[in-house]
């Protein structure tokens, strides 16, 4: 009986090690295997770099123009959130220098405009948004958020692969893999430490306690167009009854000639 337990434990060790290997990991003390990419850029599942333009086919009336006051439909606001939204005062925002409240990380990507995405270093992607002239940095291995909250907060990024195409796995798709399959996966980004802002131009709030989870996906259409789709999940215990989920899509442009930064505006 005791021998069986021992053999089971050894087998378990071998199986677990194999699983860990398939996920691009080795023992804690050894670090990643030599053929496994060590940086976010080296492991890139998809190429996000370039200039992308928003194509507003959804929520057009709430995005291309400022919705009327009290139009909070579709946003799962709680009672406190509604109360704060009811008190929206764009003139006061402008006077207080808070014109950028609708350009923060939780909703800035919904503003019609262009994104310019580029690598800052091996572990960080930068997203420049021309609407409101904002910059986000998505970094792998970001330390826990500290200091004063900012409009764009602090973002931690990691690639997500299906097991069959993880770097290091047989036939894996990442640069560290042996290739041969469609290179696809998605970038998951978690953002915290955001300054309180607006989810919609007419003053629907999110708080500094909000956590933003995003997935960046790239697809190629039959006509050759390349699309970027960003799913945003805003979880705000202060103002929302449930996480607020939207997906925003962008089409890739050949160059950044149309990227035109504009200042933040307190919408009326």
């Amino acid at each position: 009986m005791i021998k069986r337990v021992a053999l089971l434990a050894i087998a378990s060790t071998l199986v677990s090690a194999a699983v860990a290997g398939a996920q691009g990991q080795r023992g804690v003390d050894q670090g990643p295997a030599p053929n496994v990419p060590r940086t976010l850029r080296a492991a890139a599942a998809i190429d996000l770099a370039g200039t992308w333009v928003s194509v507003v086919t959804e929520d057009w009336r709430w995005r291309m123009m400022t919705p009327p006051r009290y139009d909070y439909a579709a946003i799962p606001l709680n009672a406190y959130g509604r109360q704060v939204a009811d008190d929206w005062d764009p003139a006061a925002d402008a006077a207080a220098g808070l014109q950028c409240k609708v350009y923060g990380a939780a909703a800035g990507i919904r503003n019609p405009g262009r994104l310019n995405i580029s690598w800052v270093d091996g572990n960080a992607l930068q997203i420049q948004l021309d609407a409101g002239t904002q910059t986000r940095v998505l970094r792998h291995g970001a330390r826990p958020a500290a200091g004063e909250p900012t409009w764009q907060g602090q973002s931690s990024a990691v690639w997500e692969f299906p097991e069959s195409s993880a770097p290091g796995a047989s036939g894996g798709a990442g640069r560290g893999g042996r290739g041969g399959r469609v290179p696809t996966g998605m970038l998951k980004v978690v953002t915290t430490n955001m300054r309180a802002g607006y989810l919609r131009k007419n003053g629907v709030p999110y708080s500094e306690k909000a956590v933003l989870t995003e997935y960046f996906v790239r697809t190629t259409a039959p006509n050759g167009d390349t699309w970027l789709v960003v799913t945003s999940i805003v979880d705000d215990p202060m103002y929302l009854n449930e996480p607020f989920v939207t997906s925003t899509h962008f089409k890739k442009e050949p160059d950044n000639s149309k990227f035109a930064p504009t200042p933040c505006v307190a919408h009326k």
Binding site: G31, P32, V56, T57, M64, W159, T219, P222, V245, K258
Partner: protein, 470 residues
């Protein structure tokens, strides 16, 4: 007895390693050397709708003439604008299923079932079950039918995995609509979709390429949340609809009549434009309207529309023939200053009391003979009825006037003083509702208190209206 428990330790340590990668997915820094994690891609199971975008399209219904955000070409705009809501009520269309292009946008949850070939154990197909709009996605590599093959409402779909996305191509779909207020798609439309699981959320990216009615492919996304209570399953399963369910909803209408608007006869479409200050050029969609460059032009068009609207409106007081002239004009409900009480409970999609309408606009105008026209449009999020209208023309002398729309059959309007009118509603001659309308001295606010009971349902409310742009 020897102690072999130490042999368990390495196994337990190794089993803990994948958790480090998962931590990275949560933004933790514990596995900074590993910039990726592996995730599951399963899409089969039960999924619950999330209506956090395109709510009006997907849930409560859009107003006639709201084609914003659609890259319609000229033919598409013309066909869309000809659509009349009564179209759904004609016998030939009452049991019509949604096509595969619209079906997943409707307000139902869905079940995705993976069907495995019993001989090869390979995934043969995914079945998407959502009542009348079932779809099958073939995964076994079979080709699409030849061009001359018949088209179906669901169309013919094949799928292939691209990493963590199930890519689906659909052809051979019948002609249908892109959304429920008329914008069409032709039977030449081809859809490319990607089903992607993201944690406990399922995202569908759909690209509709229709040379018939679209100037460029239409991209849109739809999200669902994992439904962990499978037994809930409400709204799923086959929906009975056939000859025995079809009824004559438009009594007196000529047989085979198709409700429609002729080209250029777009008075009804102007309601949406007026309500939201969106000029027709933008309301009818088109490629140009989808891009950021259109925003300055939109602002110019809106300013021009406002100017035209203001110029067309008579100066205050000129149209007055009865009562206090300041009652005349457009009044928008200020929901935050209003209170609605009902004897039954309703909850809105946004968590608010569903008894309170999402939006209410009243238009009060004078007509010939000393009467006053009341047109009240209400939009409720909590159900699926879209906008409904109550309208009547009443003399302010307390006489009963017939009502079009709503449960109440007649309203009597009586002027009490220059700032106050009383309204009494009746059904079959019996008073079921009373109300007092009070105008603020500055003419900017209208407060309406109402109390009523219809059957066993009692209600009372205080509604505050503000002048809307006049």
């Amino acid at each position: 007895m020897k102690n072999y428990s130490w042999l368990l330790l390495p196994g337990l340590l190794a089993m803990g390693q994948p958790a480090l990668a998962q931590e990275a997915a949560n933004g933790a820094s514990a596995s900074a050397d590993v910039p990726f994690v592996t995730v599951g891609t399963d899409i089969d199971g039960y999924w619950t709708d999330l209506f956090h975008e395109d709510l009006w399209d997907r849930r409560s219904g859009l107003l006639v003439g709201d084609f914003t955000g659609l890259p319609l070409n000229d033919a598409g705009k013309l066909a869309a604008a000809s659509w009349d809501p009564g179209w759904f009520a004609i016998p030939e269309e009452q049991c019509r299923p949604h096509t595969g292009i619209y079906g997943l946008r409707g307000p139902t949850g869905l079940q995705i079932a993976k069907v495995v070939d019993p001989l090869t154990y390979q995934v043969q197909r995914f079945d998407i079950l959502l009542g009348l709009s079932e779809r099958t996605i073939w995964m076994d590599g079979r080709p699409h039918p030849p061009e001359y093959a018949p088209h179906t409402f669901a169309g013919f779909s094949t799928g292939v995995w691209e990493g963590n996305a199930l890519k689906v191509t659909t052809t051979h779909v019948k002609a249908g609509y892109l959304q429920r207020n008329g914008p069409p798609h032709s039977d030449q439309a081809i859809t490319t979709e990607w089903f992607i699981r993201q944690g406990d959320t399922l995202m569908l990216v759909a690209l509709i390429d229709d040379p018939g009615y679209l100037a460029e492919p239409l991209m849109r996304t739809t999200n669902w949340a994992l439904d962990k209570v499978e037994a809930r399953g409400g709204g799923r399963g086959q929906v009975d609809c056939g000859p025995f369910q079809v009824v004559d909803e438009r009594v007196g209408q000529p047989k085979h009549f198709v409700p429609h608007y002729l080209p250029g006869q777009y008075e009804t479409h102007k309601e949406f434009q007026t309500m939201f200050g969106i000029p027709q050029e933008a309301a009818f969609g088109g490629t140009e309207t989808l891009y950021p460059e259109y925003m300055p032009k939109l602002a110019e068009l809106q300013a021009a529309l406002l100017k035209r609207t203001t110029a067309a409106r008579p100066p205050a007081g000129r149209t007055a023939t009865v009562g206090r002239t300041d009652f005349l004009g457009e009044w928008q409900l200020n929901r935050s200053q209003s209170n609605f009480e009902v004897s039954w409970r309703r909850e809105g999609l946004d968590g608010r009391d569903g008894s309170a309408p999402e939006r209410r606009l009243m238009r009060i105008s004078s007509v010939e003979g000393g009467a006053v026209s009341f047109v009240i449009d209400t939009q409720i999020v909590a159900n699926d009825t879209g906008t409904f209208r109550v309208e009547y023309v009443a003399k302010p002398d307390g006489s009963d006037a017939p009502v079009k729309g709503g449960a109440i059959e007649t309203f009597a309007v009586k002027r009490v003083d220059p700032l106050t009118i009383e309204r009494t509603g009746k059904i079959k001659g019996a008073v079921v509702e009373t109300g007092t309308w009070t105008l603020s001295p500055d003419g900017k606010t209208l407060t309406v208190t109402t109390k009523g009971q219809i059957g066993d349902q009692a209600y009372s409310n205080l509604q505050q209206f503000e002048r809307a742009g006049n």
